[in-house]
């Protein structure tokens, strides 16, 4: 058993809502303190798609993440370490998280990340995953076809070299379609991988990073409880809720609610891969402190602007009705992506296949997600979360 103190990290819960598990917190890292609930933007391959770090700051971003799996393939952790770590390499000076690499290994080839978590998977393992053993996971490098191995020890060493503030234990993210028997044995293996992750982390701990344990157990209540207990007893700084969250919104929320009750109550809680606005409102009430999702920048690449107070919370600028719409996306936001360009111009850029549309929409979407999280924090403080949700979701 490791005895990690994480002296350079803290999570202070500053307010608890009276009628839900919603809470406000300050999550302190060596690269700054963020207020929670908050949203972590995906800079998958050491870059937010179409936005530079200054543009992320302009959009009032507090924290971003990168993916270990992609970075171990390109450019490789040794290069990132040699270049001074991920913060310096990509020019982001704020708090940062990396995942363990496991998620992509287990989900690549299955369809989208969101499909996997949300139970929309059609079956069959991805072709890039070759073999899972007690030791770790063997997979095919999608760039050069070579066979690679990721183990808990390697994942922690790679994440050490990358140097993000918040890092994740190595785990297997089981899909919705696998049966209870597989989910259970996989969960137990993930627990053993988690223990090995902590041991490896402790060997080289220099105070710069803090580890999250991950709750697995799929859609099975007893397994989820067992996994929550395991993370609670482990020497983790934070708790992440991972794995399949079921096949419906109701099942998803029930799983999160169950986990939220059973996990360590004063550690920060991250919900992996969730970023829809309705889900964020619901899960904040269930005690989730941080979210991450590729959706803000991915939606932008498909012409969507995330919007406050609009049914569905988004509009598609590809729609011909915007072709002569002189209004900006949001005149009262203090960022040009939102207040300066007309919808007609963005519509034109999309039609003309000008990549500038992605830059503008991405920055707008990031700004809106950060605004959402600020509004949610304010609403929790003032106990007006229901009204805040009604306003945002146009209910």
């Amino acid at each position: 058993m490791t005895d990690l103190k994480y002296p350079n990290f803290a999570f202070d819960i500053t307010h608890n809502a009276p009628n839900s598990k919603a809470r406000l917190g300050n999550l302190k890292t060596p690269h700054g303190t963020i207020q929670t609930p908050n949203f972590i933007f995906c800079g998958t391959k050491a870059a937010i798609k179409n936005l530079n770090p200054d543009q992320m700051v302009e959009a009032k971003t507090d924290i971003i993440l990168s993916n270990t799996y992609h970075l171990m393939i390109q450019p490789g952790a040794d290069i990132v370490e040699k270049m001074g770590g991920l913060h310096k390499f990509m020019g982001w000076d704020g708090p940062m998280l990396t995942d363990s690499g496991g998620f992509q290994i287990f989900s690549m080839g299955h369809g989208s990340v969101a499909d996997e978590i949300k139970g929309r998977n059609k079956g069959e393992r991805g072709q890039s995953l070759l073999k899972i053993t007690e030791e770790g996971a063997k997979f095919r490098n999608y760039r050069d076809g070579s066979s690679m191995m990721l183990t808990p020890e390697l994942s922690m060493d790679i994440q050490r070299k990358l140097g993000a503030d918040l890092i994740m234990q190595f785990d297997e993210c089981t899909a919705f379609h696998v049966d209870r028997k597989y989910t259970e044995s996989s969960m137990h293996r993930s627990h053993r991988w988690g223990d090995r992750s902590l041991e490896q982390f402790a060997k080289n701990d220099n105070g710069a990073q803090a580890v999250y344990g991950i709750v697995q157990g799929g859609v099975y209540d007893d397994l989820r409880k067992e996994s929550c207990a395991w993370t609670k007893n482990g020497n983790f700084f934070g708790t992440a809720i991972g794995g399949s969250l079921g096949g419906s919104k109701q099942q998803f929320y029930e799983i999160v609610e169950l986990c939220s009750k059973e996990i360590h109550q004063t550690r920060p809680v991250h919900l992996l891969g969730i970023g829809a606005i309705d889900d964020i409102f619901q899960c904040v009430r269930l005690g989730i402190d941080t979210f991450d999702c590729v959706s803000p920048t991915r939606a932008a690449r498909h012409g969507w602007a995330v919007m406050k107070g609009v049914p569905g919370n988004r509009i598609n600028l590809k729609n011909a009705k915007y072709k002569d719409d002189e209004t900006p996306l949001a005149a009262d936001y203090d960022i040009k992506a939102s207040n300066f360009y007309s919808k007609a111009y963005i519509h034109h850029l999309i039609k003309a296949q000008e990549m500038l549309s992605m830059q503008i929409l991405s920055q707008h979407n990031v700004y809106v997600m950060n605004l959402l999280m600020r509004d949610i924090r304010k609403a929790i403080a003032e106990d007006t979360l229901d009204a805040c949700e009604k306003e945002w979701r146009c209910l």
Copy 2:
């Protein structure tokens, strides 16, 4: 014969080099005055590829252009006019130029714009060009396949609606492979189109725009002289040198030199579609005031950084030798695209197919071209153009 005064425009030649036709000038437009020689960046479809207007200003850009041909197809001139004109539509408040649309009609389908001007064309008219008559050019809309017509009158009306400061007469840009007979008859038709352009322009002149006449005549000295005389006698604000510039650098420079002697001596002179650094140095000496080329942003999309003092004036960041190069593109430039990101990071972005590489390299390349033009202006003032060229081109 029109009698246009262009009261809101001026071109003041402030200095003439003692040993060449190189000169310094101030080119005044309703959206500001630029110093010449200068470089005009291509915002083909009402957007500089991957850069927003603020990023262009950060890179010290003075003037940009857009292409009538692309804009008449998408979004259409009426939409741009309804949205308040091109300046407002795309958010560029400085001087702007549009071409007449002719060049793209005659070159699309032949290969690249540069191939066409520089005599590397392999023959055959582009499939999109359907028919040229005295009236104008009929072509196929590349978006919806419909048949469209562009005439001198329509080109001027479209350019009026777009609202750029500097606009171009309608002309046919003849290719290198066409014979003397075709070049001659096409040139005469372009002259008639130029006269019609001026007449149409005069009908609606509101003082906001000024027209350039275009010298054609291909590689034939007598035709070039005739075309120069025609532009000189026409009521144009400026002169553009267009058409085929031959099959070799020597022929290209000879044509420019000849034209430069024969054209109106105190009007601003634009060289269409030329942007290589060696060509800029040579043509500045021949009296060219402004250049335009897609090369700075196109090169960026292919991984090239334009460099001062490097053989060939560019490096390719795709090259594996940059994979652990911690140095920035240019530590002493006052812009993050050049001084902040390591070559290793840009190399990684390209390998990872992250579009951010294009944003960073595009802004760096724009900055470098603007630096080049500032250095050239300073060198002309100080009569040190040869030394400036040696330093830039690493001779």
